[in-house]
Structure formats: C-alpha cells, structure tokens
C-alpha cells in the first residue's frame, strides 16, 4: 500500500446496482464514482433509501455491483465469486455493525478471534493477537467477559477489536453509534479517531448523525443512488503527505479513551 496516499485503497467507477423485485427493477445505485485514499476517515450520508447500505455492501465485498468496476488495493474485485469475496473480507476489511453482532455466550477474546480462525491463524497466535487487539480498544481487563456481561459501549469496542484483529486495509462501520447513548457514542467516535490518527487506519462510516460526520474530514452525500456532494475539509492527499498535524478533530474535548 502506498504510504503517502498517492493511489486509492478504494476506487469505484460507474458503480450501479439493480435489484429485481418481481416485474419492477429497483435501481439502488445509478452510477457512483468515488476514490478513497489510505488513512482517510470518511462519512457516507444521505436520506433513508438513498443507497448508502447498498454502497457499503459493495465496498465491503459482501455484494458485487451490477455494473461498473471496483478496485480494492488496485485489484479488480467487482466480478469475484462468493468464496473469493469471503477471502478478501477476511484479509482486507473489518466490519463494525450497528447491532454489534457478537456471538452470544462467547467470550470477548473468542469473539475477536473469529476472523483469525477463518484466516487460518494457529491457536496460540490467535489468542495473542485477539488480546492485543482488545487492549488497543481499552478492554484489556475484560478478555473473558461474555457479551451479556458487557455494556453497549464495551460490546461495540469488542466489535471494533474484532474488526482490527486482521490488520485490514479499512474498517467499514454502518451506523456504529446507532444503538448507543450520546456519551458512549462520543467515546466510540474518539476511539475510531485515535485509531485513524495513530495507526493510519482507513475508516468509512455510514451515518445519519451529523455529529458522527463531524469527526470525519470528508463527507460523501448520496441521494437516489448517486453521489450528490463530496466535501473534504482538508485536502485528503495532504493529511500525512504534508507531514503536518493530523486533521483537527471537531467538537468535544479530547477525552480519555483508555480505561
């Protein structure tokens, strides 16, 4: 991967997605062109039904476009088969969901190990990496807690640790704070921001919430399956290339993220 962001992680060209609903063809995406560069923290916004989730599913390799080309890390992934997509998701993408999606009755560390199991990482190494990942999100003391023994914010941290554990090219988060109260939402967004700034991890959010979008230095607005606007608050290519300070985090005091 290019360190200074000269080539995009994600390159979408003319992406269209149609769903056949009986006789009707639903045109969820009608030609989307977006480039996302390494180290970006980006929000996709738009009204309900505008195609955000569809776009996210394609970016996350959960689905393939009906038309257009999607290059991930310079490799065309728009026509791959199920199992090939699964391998790409495993190695390059970390997901964070609105409803956490942790396995019940399963410890935090075992939940975080999940992607490593399918990545063929051996048992001991797996446990080590899962623990490291949990420490990174501030849950070093909660390794063997099960989801029902954790608060919503802690559960979402486990989910973030799980997304990080395979050192993916990017993290995709669909409404990650949708199920959290505002104080916990701030903690989670600051965690994302810290991961983005300190580790240069590319993060793409889907959100309704303008406050979530405030943490991002780029906002892509979608409407009726097309990109309506694409606003950067600072030149994306310059964030790390200029060696300057990281983009200033919008509202709120920088809070203690570590427990």
């Amino acid at each position: 991967m290019e360190q200074n962001g000269s080539s995009p992680v994600i390159s979408l060209r003319g992406i269209k997605k149609f769903y056949q609903m009986g006789d009707v063809e639903v045109r969820a995406l009608r030609g989307v062109d977006v480039d996302i560069y390494p180290g970006e923290m980006l929000a996709i916004m738009g009204p309900s039904g505008s195609g955000k989730s569809t776009l996210m599913n394609i970016i996350g390799c959960l689905d393939v476009p009906s038309e257009g080309v999607y290059e991930l890390d310079g490799k065309d992934v728009s026509r791959l088969k199920d199992d090939q997509l699964a391998a790409i998701r495993n190695h390059k993408i970390g997901f964070v969901f609105q409803s956490f999606n942790l396995l019940p009755r399963t410890t935090a560390v075992a939940n975080v190990e999940l992607p490593l199991i399918y990545g063929g990482v051996s048992g001991r190494q797996r446990r080590q990496r899962a623990e490291d990942s949990l420490r990174l999100v501030g849950l070093g003391e909660r390794l063997d807690h099960k989801p029902n023994e954790l608060s919503g914010g802690q559960q979402q941290r486990v989910a973030i640790a799980r997304a990080l554990v395979n050192t993916p090219s990017m993290i995709l988060a669909d409404e990650p704070t949708g199920n959290l109260d505002s104080k916990t939402s701030i903690e989670i967004m600051e965690l994302f921001q810290r991961l983005n700034q300190e580790r240069g991890i590319t993060i793409v959010f889907v959100t309704h919430n303008p406050e979530t979008a405030d943490y991002c230095h780029r906002v892509v607005r979608v409407r009726d399956g097309m990109v309506e606007s694409d606003i950067s608050r600072r030149a994306t290519a310059g964030i790390y290339a200029t060696g300057g300070e990281p983009p200033s985090a919008p509202p709120s005091e920088p809070q203690e993220v570590q427990p």
Partner: protein, 414 residues
C-alpha cells in the same frame, strides 16, 4: 477452518440447548440402545446354546415322537403315538442300523425327591443301562446301574450334581443313603458329573433310575399292549460322516414299525445336534432381521429429528452465520460446521444409546443366573459409526442451506 474448531463450536451450541439436544437424540438413543441390548442378549443366547450342545455328547441322534414343530418332547400332545422300549431295541439291532454304536431310551417326568425332611422337585430320567455310555457321561461317586439292576427293577437312583447338592448340603457320602421318590424308598448308588443345562432342561437338576423300575413301580406309563413308553431314544453313531445314513436307516425302520404309509408324513422326528444348532441359527437369524428393522426405523426417525432440529438451529442462528461469512467464513467452513454439529449430536445420541443398551444387557444378565449377555466391542463400534453416519446424512440438507445463506440477508435477519 480446522475440524477441532468446528467441533468446539458444535459442542458449545449443543450445550446451550441441552434439553432440546437430548430430546433430539432420543430416536438415536432408543434405536442404538435397543440394538445393543438385543444384540448382546442374542449373543448371550447363542453362547448359552452352544455351550449346552457342547455338553450333549458327540455324534448323537435323538429320536422323539411327533415333529419338532410340536414343541419340546415333554410338552407334546398325548395324541402323538408314543415311542417304546421295543423301538429302541429295534434300532439297537446291528442288522438294521449298522452304524449305531450304542442306543439308550429315556422316559422323562417330574418327581419329588425327599431326604431328611427336605423335598426337591426335579426331572426324573428313567433310562436303560446304556444311557451314560451314549451320553458320554461319567459319575463322580458310585456307578450307573447295571443291566442286572434294570432286569430286577431295583429301586436304585443316581443324582444329578445339583440335586445331590440340595439333598446333601453337608456333602455327605451319598452312596447307599436312602431317599424317597414320590414317597417310595430308593437307594442312592451314585452322583453324575455336572453337565449344566441342556436343550431338554438342566440335567444337573435330575435323578436317574432304571426305566423298568420307573415304569413298573412309579409312573406306570405303558402302552395298551403293555410296552414301556419312552420319551426319547438316544443313538450314538460310530462316525460323524455316517450320521446322515444312520438317520435315513432309522427313519425307514421307524416308519415300518409305526405302519406309516408311503405318502404320509413321519409322526416322529430324528434330530441331530447339527439340526438343533440350525434351528437356533434360524431363530437367531430372524431375531437379527427383526433387530435390523428396529434399528433402521429408529435411526430413520432419529435422523429426521436431527434434520428438523438442525433446520431450526440454522434459522435461529442466521445472524451468526451472516457474521461468520462477513468476517471470512467460506461456504465450506459453514457447511463443515453444521455437518459436524449434526454428527456430534448423533454420535452423542449413539453414546447414550450404547450406555442404555449396555445397562439393559447387564440387567438381563443379573436377572437370569447362569446366562450372560455379551456386549461386543464391534457392536458398540458399529453403532457409533452408524449413528454418526446418520447424523452426517441428515445434516447435509440443513448444512447446505446454511452454507448458501447470503451474508447481507443473514446479517439483517431479526
């Protein structure tokens, strides 16, 4: 994904729903349990019967009135024309049955035997003097009665090993002691070697006396023209390869003596050890088919139960499957996970079934003294393999369904 991993996931899923898992296994538990129990009992019976035949004496033919299908000789209806001592004497004629090495007659009935205030009900065999020779049977004390004893209708008796134990609890020397048979005094002249049970009852729980004494003094069972009735005639054949020929000669002789017309059926039977073993073999064969049917039906029911519960499980865990796929599980990973779960369920059912069947076999063994049900390692092994294979087979459809789930739909599933 590694199989160990899938096994751990499966165990966790089964443990999370213990009651449901056990109920699902019930078909397999009962099926395997029934097969193990009946199979071990069947083997026990086979072993028991084989042991009994081993004690019969070799190259032996039994001649009895009526057909085998009428039941054991002692239970055959009175309408069947009885055998007589004269029949035995005819068979003993070397010009008619040259391969008969020795011949003996035996009239069997129940008697009560009393000594020193203690009474036992046993079978009495009223025999001819050649009896121990034909049965290849020795005494442990004294000796069998002689032709003279027989001719003189002496009131002498030999005791079976168990009968001796019961009447002489302090192991007194029995010879020349007096016992009462049906309230008539008899002198004990010997004790037979222990032989264990046989197809005609446990010979150790018998007494032996001369046929002449028995029929003239005790039972008085004679034909209208005054001949001694007998229950069985034993013929020992000189060489085993001559048995079929001897069987043919005796049949011919008996048909003549009993005046059976050319086309009519025999009203007597001649049975060799091999015939008896073959009969038991047929019974065991039928039992095996019956067992197979039980096993097949309950395994089918059990398998359908497993398929049903696995389909429920796949639906319940749709989100889990979606998540696993989202983080990189391939179709084969999900397929293997659910197949292993179905197999683990079935194998656990198989284990419980083996435990159940084994307990039943032990129960039966304890209930029937000298009979022992044999639980074979091969039966256990086969049961477990078959149970697991049933799990595999009936798990294929649910597992295939799970592996085909679209991760997007699955994650959205409520």
């Amino acid at each position: 994904m590694k199989v160990i991993e899938a096994l751990r996931i499966a165990m966790r899923a089964l443990a999370a729903n213990k009651l449901r898992s056990v109920l699902t296994m019930l078909g397999i538990i009962i099926g395997v349990g029934a097969v193990i129990a009946l199979m071990s009992i069947g083997r026990g019976v086979e072993k028991y019967v084989t042991d009994q035949f081993a004690g019969l004496g070799s190259n032996l033919l039994f001649v009895a009135p009526g057909q085998i299908s009428d039941g054991p000789p002692s239970l055959r209806p009175n309408t069947v024309k009885a055998l007589t001592l004269a029949d035995m004497e005819a068979i003993a004629d070397p010009s008619r049955v040259p391969h008969a090495a020795s011949v003996a007659a035996d009239f069997q009935t129940r008697v009560s035997v009393t000594r020193a205030g203690k009474t036992v009900d046993v079978q009495a065999s009223a025999t001819t003097p050649e009896y121990p020779l034909v049965r290849n049977w020795n005494t442990t004390a004294g000796s069998y009665f002689s032709t003279l004893d027989s001719d003189e209708r002496q009131r002498v008796v030999l005791l079976g090993a168990d009968t001796y134990q019961e009447l002489f609890p302090n192991n007194e020397y029995p010879v020349d002691q007096i016992v009462q048979i049906n309230e008539m005094n008899f002198r004990v002249i010997g004790v037979m070697e222990s032989k264990g049970g046989g197809p005609g009852g446990n010979l150790d729980k018998s007494v032996f006396l001369p046929l002449t004494t028995g029929q003239d003094r005790l039972f008085k069972q004679k034909t209208p023209n005054g001949e001694y009735k007998v229950s069985v005639i034993y013929v020992s054949i000189d060489q085993s390869e001559n048995i079929p020929l001897a069987q043919e000669e005796i049949t011919q002789l008996m048909r003549e003596r009993r005046g059976i017309n050319y086309l009519d059926q025999d009203d007597f039977s001649i049975v060799s050890q091999n015939d008896l073993i073959a009969v038991f073999g047929d019974i065991l064969g039928a039992l095996t088919i019956f067992l197979g049917a039980i096993a097949a039906i309950s395994l089918l029911v059990g398998g359908i139960g497993i398929m049903n519960i696995m389909l429920v499980s796949v639906t319940e865990r749709t989100r889990e499957i979606g998540l696993r796929k989202a983080v990189g599980a391939k179709r084969a990973d999900v397929l293997v996970q659910f197949l292993i779960e179905a197999m683990a369920l079935a194998a656990a059912g198989g284990f419980l079934g083996v435990a159940l069947g084994w307990s039943l076999a032990l129960l039966v063994s304890t209930a029937f003294g000298d009979f022992e049900a044999v639980v074979g390692a091969d039966a256990i092994f086969t049961s477990l393999i078959v149970a697991t294979a049933v799990g595999l087979f009936f798990g294929i459809f649910p597992a295939f369904r799970a592996s085909r789930l679209n991760p997007i739909d699955a994650l959205r599933y409520e």
